[in-house]
Chain length 163, copies 3
């Protein structure tokens, strides 16, 4: 991939054009044993009609997970591992709308950590406490980026009539 | 553990019944060399009388830590490691009230990471900068969950008179 | 380093003296292939004139990074590694003003994670979605701490006239 020059006028074009920041609301959920983390969060976002949601923090444990590794690309997505066994969620980061883009790191019975892109199949072991933020003045969408081959995040101000 | 069917009416019963989100306030503290991270955060929450507090971000370094590993359960909690030596805090996640539920990942002198559930004994090496969020419309409590054997997070709306 | 006794009256002297928390605004940016993460965030903070900014979440991937390891001190800062190859950002934590203090953990093509203090040279591979929080009632500065040898975070209330 060719490195592009960084031009300041391009740098933040996806930021809200208002220049100011957005207000924030938070939602807190606890997931229960057997629930699937990714699907549950997506269902939550849909139920609450969140339009610019992201993970603030998540603490919990899971019994399995399917993760995509760093080497995967849009055309070579088979770098996937299926974890099984109890793991602690030691980080969960990312945005949740309209497609979730989450990365996680998980620690095992000896404290070793493994990380990657969340594809799903993350079954909760004991609990998952999740704080979701919603930028109430912004709207997340995704548009195909020909440079990456993935639908990438676009951040726009929420119009007054939509709030 | 038997997998329960996910029923949408059950899925988010611990969420604030208001349906909407909560407002947020943030507190920022810097801890100093020799201070213990977990106890200091618990003391901070008590001093400020925070009722729905959680970690937003934490950057810093520690000289030791006691962590519980993923394999531990309510009846077999002896899967514990005592780390010593300088480590960077590369993630800290979780909620802080009424009992702290924190997971951490720490990196050592070669960048290797170790993660788990924070039991304490996390002595600050140079600094710990911590941003704590407080959901001002919510109240965190914990109730024993017979499915897990642990007191698990319950999220409730804060009554108007209590605000 | 000598361990200091923890005195409660000292514990949180760097906290806003108002006792209450601060309001929060959020800014969301997507960085593009080839952009450098640390410098881009510093430019963003400067452009938006943020005075108490910190990372809320970051998801993305990078092709290289320069990290300082946990063993480094103010007088022995040469514990540095230069990573190359595609890595997922699985955590990014820290504060952004007036000097960025960021720690990261990165996962490689096999899910192995490496972590440390961000020195720079973090070139975005496909994307980096970053949510930055700004504590609108606080002001971050840094002052040399003789105990650590580093300029450490000082948190102060923002004066009314400055808001």
């Amino acid at each position: 991939m060719q490195k592009e020059p960084i031009r300041s006028e391009l740098l933040f074009f996806s930021q809200s054009s208002s220049g100011g920041g957005s207000g924030l609301q938070v939602h807190v959920v606890r997931l229960h044993p057997g629930q699937e983390l990714l699907g549950s969060l997506q269902a939550f976002v849909e139920e609450k009609r969140l339009r610019a949601p992201f993970i603030i923090t998540c603490v919990g444990s899971i019994t399995k997970a399917t993760l995509r590794m760093a080497n995967a690309t849009a055309t070579c997505t088979n770098e996937v591992i299926h974890l099984s066994g109890r793991h602690e969620i030691v980080s969960l980061v990312g945005t949740l709308n309209p497609d979730a883009h989450l990365h996680v790191s998980l620690s095992d019975s000896e404290g070793r950590t493994v990380g990657g892109h969340v594809l799903g199949d993350m079954e909760v072991f004991t609990t998952a406490e999740v704080v979701v933020g919603e930028a109430v003045d912004l709207q997340f969408t995704r548009e195909m980026d020909l440079n990456t081959g993935f639908p990438e995040l676009v951040v726009q101000p929420r119009s007054q009539t939509e709030k």
